[in-house]
Symmetry: C2
Subunit: 269 residues, 2 copies
Amino acid sequence: MSSASIGIFDSGMGGLTVMRALRARLPGENFVYLGDTARLPYGTKSADTVTRYAVQASAALMRHGIKLLVVACNTASAAALPTLAETLAPLPVVGVIAPGAAAAVAAAPDGPIAVIATEGTVKGGAYVRAIQAIAPHMPVVQQAAPLFVALAEEGLHDGPLPELAAQRYLGPLLATVPRPRGLVLGCTHFPVLKAVIGQVAGPEVTLIDSAETTAAAVENVLREKNLLNGEGGGTARFLATDAPGRFAHLGQIFLGEPIDPGSVTLVDL
Amino acid sequence: MSSASIGIFDSGMGGLTVMRALRARLPGENFVYLGDTARLPYGTKSADTVTRYAVQASAALMRHGIKLLVVACNTASAAALPTLAETLAPLPVVGVIAPGAAAAVAAAPDGPIAVIATEGTVKGGAYVRAIQAIAPHMPVVQQAAPLFVALAEEGLHDGPLPELAAQRYLGPLLATVPRPRGLVLGCTHFPVLKAVIGQVAGPEVTLIDSAETTAAAVENVLREKNLLNGEGGGTARFLATDAPGRFAHLGQIFLGEPIDPGSVTLVDL
């Protein structure tokens, strides 16, 4: 059972930033990643639709005999985590919101904490609830940043366009008094824009990316359940609902290592 | 049969700019519009996936007893028109590419013609083929402009962000020698950014928006087949695959008239 794969699900390729942190921390694990590239983005869809799609995606990963599911998409974590945990029980399901919230409170214990995310994540308020479950009086300000998704996917990671977009989105957040000390990158697309976001936010604001803390949470769950695997040589397979070639090509930016096009399989959900 | 509805299909809300032109030209017609809002955007998906989705959407519209189908999405017109025409025959199917190409050649008969569109439309080359089918030696230059879709959907129609994006996308096109005289807005999202695009392109470049010419093409087909309806009082119904409330709210920008939330029905394809 411990040699079974860790399943990772995302709306597209952004979740590969979470897989990157997992591969670095758990090099002996085997991974199967599903990107719902045909139906991305999830950030503008209703919670009902996102939940329906997440259940379909997790069913496809279950057919690969996974031992744990990582929901590496903030929007899906925010909308569908309780439903997924219930549907897949007793399989452990780890989302990115709770680890991100814990990291934010640890990084900026005196607050305030600012969150940038997709429209869906902001609207649902999942980060606000998760942060205030740990630190009940923490002030949290939020801003939807949909253009960041388009910029990240177009490979526009620096220059005047992402800078202007960052000024537009961060301006109102940074005007909060007192000024936020932590900024949660609440969408797996945003870490690729980290340099520009950090530059606009300034050195006093700590950027929080939930990839690292999610990887730590996964390790804890596997250790508790005695499901950790080996020392190295873990494998990586990929499923995509559209255009496997494009997935292999663009996914490398997010994963930080080459993706063999032969390891990407087209699936229909 | 002439009182049957005209079906209009789009990936989301952009096709409402085509419906707007149709309503103005054919006020006696009844319309049923389907926006595949759960799965938008189509512009980054493969031609196979877009064709599959378009066939499902047209089947849903057929259940409403339509007399003609308008494919008001450039990406779907480029990828799926032959398949749809074959699948739905003898129902007449009108896309936006051929009318847009005819309008471009009429507006800039000496060329060159520039085309901005989604990644999928540019890659497939449908505008190049359609323009050169009318004017075989016409030089055509193309540019994918994916950020325009995100800007239009976020309601960012003017100001520095769309201006910078327009400079980025139009810069290389305008550097063509001789300078393009016509610029095709090859995505139904782009007409809402017309002011900024026109400002960056300059007064010597004619902007071509296929909504008007598509409406004229539909009128011609209906006249030919003796299917024109009445003088006024036509109705409008809407189907959306996600978030009908959001559709009614945001759709008004594209349609140019209020949308009663009660006229929008959620459908699953």
